[in-house]
């Protein structure tokens, strides 16, 4: 087990190298950099000042040298300072991380609470009215972009009924409701479908028919056998959707002014604040790979037959 976890963590290295190099290269290929963004709207700034600022930030050096020095900093735990605010990137990032993690955790809980019972219900009521209704619901949810859902919820809850604040005022429960709901709706729609398909597949297996023939009550089979084996797939699928959730938080956080890393990333992108963007990319990759690793371990706990790719004997 330890060996396996170690191996997986080692695999993280080429992924991180690849991703950071690519995003680094892309940024340098772009026509404008943070200096042109900074002085662009101020009109007449002499070329001398621009060059001086570039030299100060180290943007005049060759691309590979820049990447190398950034990498060296990363290894020593130094992610540089923000080009825009001049603050330490790592500290800024860590200070905003809890808000995003909170939002992500809340949305996952909401998704589980909404989609697992509904998915099971749809599978049990297969091809009946409830099933069709839930399928339409999931289809509509799947076709709505999450920023549209966000605006719809805002319009209803904040503007029309005046129940909740339009933009968040700090990290409070009230402010968290709408962003959580937005993320949960999009995820539930996708996830409910998968839960339904998984449970349905399990329900069609021969042992279910056998249990029925032996007079075991349907609800007993469902709760004791079917759901137990379906859980395995359900947990995996949930973990896989965390990737799209991480991307989604960036948009939702900016809409609701939720002060997390997603909003930070979008703001940094508009300002071409490279160190900040790089930090975001690196952190997201780490979180994503960690979540996948935890899923694999969970998978192993839920089904000991799965060997996790460790060679034994």
């Amino acid at each position: 087990m330890k060996k396996y976890i170690g191996k997986r963590l080692l695999q993280l290295i080429p992924v991180l190298l690849g991703i950071t190099f690519l995003s680094f290269a892309m940024m340098r290929l772009a026509g404008s950099d943070t200096v042109t963004e900074m002085y662009g709207d101020k009109g007449a700034v002499s070329q001398q000042i621009i060059d001086a600022k570039r030299a100060e930030l180290g943007l005049d050096r060759p691309f590979l040298v820049q990447y190398g020095s950034w990498l060296k900093g990363l290894l020593t735990g130094d992610m540089g300072v923000s080009y825009v605010s001049g603050k330490n990137v790592f500290q800024t990032f860590v200070s905003k991380l809890p808000a995003t993690l909170l939002l992500t955790a809340l949305s996952i809980v909401a998704t589980v609470v909404i989609s697992i019972p509904l998915g099971i219900l749809a599978a049990v009521k297969h091809d009946r009215f409830t099933d069709y209704f839930l399928r339409v619901f999931s289809f509509v949810g799947n076709s709505l972009p999450n920023f549209f859902v966000a605006l719809l919820l805002m319009q209803l809850f904040s503007i029309k009924w005046k129940l909740l604040p339009v933009i968040s005022k700090g990290t409070t429960v009230q402010s968290a409701i709408l962003p959580t709901l937005t993320l949960a709706i999009a995820m539930s729609a996708k996830y409910m479908r998968q839960v339904r398909a998984t449970v349905l597949e399990e329900l069609n297996k021969d042992y279910v028919l056998g249990a029925k023939a032996r007079g075991v009550r349907g609800s007993v089979t469902l709760w004791k056998s079917v759901l137990k084996s379906a859980m395995l797939t359900i947990v995996t699928l949930l973990a896989l959707s965390i990737g799209s959730l991480l991307g989604g938080t960036a948009i939702i956080e900016s809409i609701f002014m939720w002060d997390g890393v997603g909003k930070l990333a979008v703001d940094s992108i508009t300002m071409r604040d490279y160190p900040m963007i790089q930090a975001y990319v690196v952190w997201m990759a780490i979180i994503y790979v960690m979540v996948n690793l935890i899923t694999d371990i969970l998978y192993h706990v839920l089904d000991p037959r799965i060997r996790l790719g460790v060679q034994e004997g």
Binding site: P145, F148, L151
Partner: protein, 282 residues
């Protein structure tokens, strides 16, 4: 197999065919509309007239007017060009690129295969939209750059499918016959491999259109895609968010347009998958 099941299957097949015709027609209509959008708008989508700014939907302006008095219906129709047409272009690019990489990997094998597949692993091990945000942002926004960003992150899925399909084809008996008959590599790939592996790839790309449309709109919404005054649904929505309280139709019309288009393409994608693989159940 009992008679009832056969009958059920026949019924199912005919409903799938009917769905295919209905959703196919709707999708084609959408595409044609986006292609000829310039001729279909009742008013000039760029024409400003401040006297009629922010009017509610009426008989003259079915979807009302925006803050500069531009006709919303015209802007939504004109926006279909940026939204639908670019999405199709994007899906075409990633399908072609992914297939090319996948077939190369499967056919050539060796270190080329290893290197390309490791690169695709990097992309698959990372949340796509996060990277697209970073790339689109660093390229500086604009519709073209948003397409490049999404294309850069989306091809590995297709490369995977194409590679495994090519490997499967390579092992077949008739492939040996083709080689024995003396066909060159180019001919084998174009005439024998591609036609046989295209099915699953095209089904995947049909299923992807809806998602891609939403992601492209999301990038535009964040200001990293099409920029005003060019009408594009995502940027139209973010541009008019401040008016949502007083004139919600301005913000919601493009939203509904995205929703309907995504839904039509999703329905079509599902139907094509059911048609191609009758065993799959929804």
């Amino acid at each position: 197999m009992s008679e009832v099941t056969v009958r059920k299957q026949k019924l199912r097949k005919s409903t799938v065919k009917m769905r295919l015709i209905i959703f196919g027609t709707l999708a084609v209509l959408l595409v044609v509309c986006s292609f000829f959008s310039a001729y279909l708008t009742p008013y000039d989508p760029y024409l400003q007239n401040l006297d009629i700014a922010k009017q509610a939907p009426s008989a003259q302006h079915l979807l009302g007017t925006d803050r500069y008095g531009r006709d919303m219906l015209s802007r939504v129709i004109a926006g279909s060009r940026a939204s639908i047409f670019s999405t199709l272009l994007l899906v075409a690019i990633i399908t072609a690129l992914g297939t090319a990489v996948g077939v190369t990997c499967g056919w050539v094998g060796g270190w080329v295969d290893t290197v390309l597949m490791r690169i695709s692993d990097v992309f698959l091990a990372f949340p796509g939209l996060v990277f697209a945000l970073a790339v689109a942002g660093s390229l500086g926004g604009g519709l073209q750059n948003a397409i490049i960003a999404l294309a850069a992150i989306s091809w590995p899925k297709y490369a995977r499918i194409a590679r495994s399909q090519t490997l499967a084809q390579k092992e077949t008996q008739w492939m040996k016959a083709v080689r024995l008959s003396g066909s060159g590599t180019g001919k084998i790939i174009l005439k024998h491999i591609l036609p046989n592996i295209l099915g699953p790839i095209l089904v995947t790309s049909m299923l992807d259109i809806g998602t891609m449309m939403m992601e492209l709109a999301a990038l535009s919404f964040l200001g990293l895609g099409a920029k005003p005054p060019i009408p594009e649904w995502g940027s139209m929505m973010s541009d008019t968010r401040s008016l949502m309280t007083t004139s919600p139709w301005i913000t919601f019309s493009p939203g509904i347009a995205i929703f309907l288009s995504v839904m039509i393409f999703n329905l079509l994608g599902d139907t094509i998958r059911d048609y191609a693989d009758p065993k799959s159940r929804r």
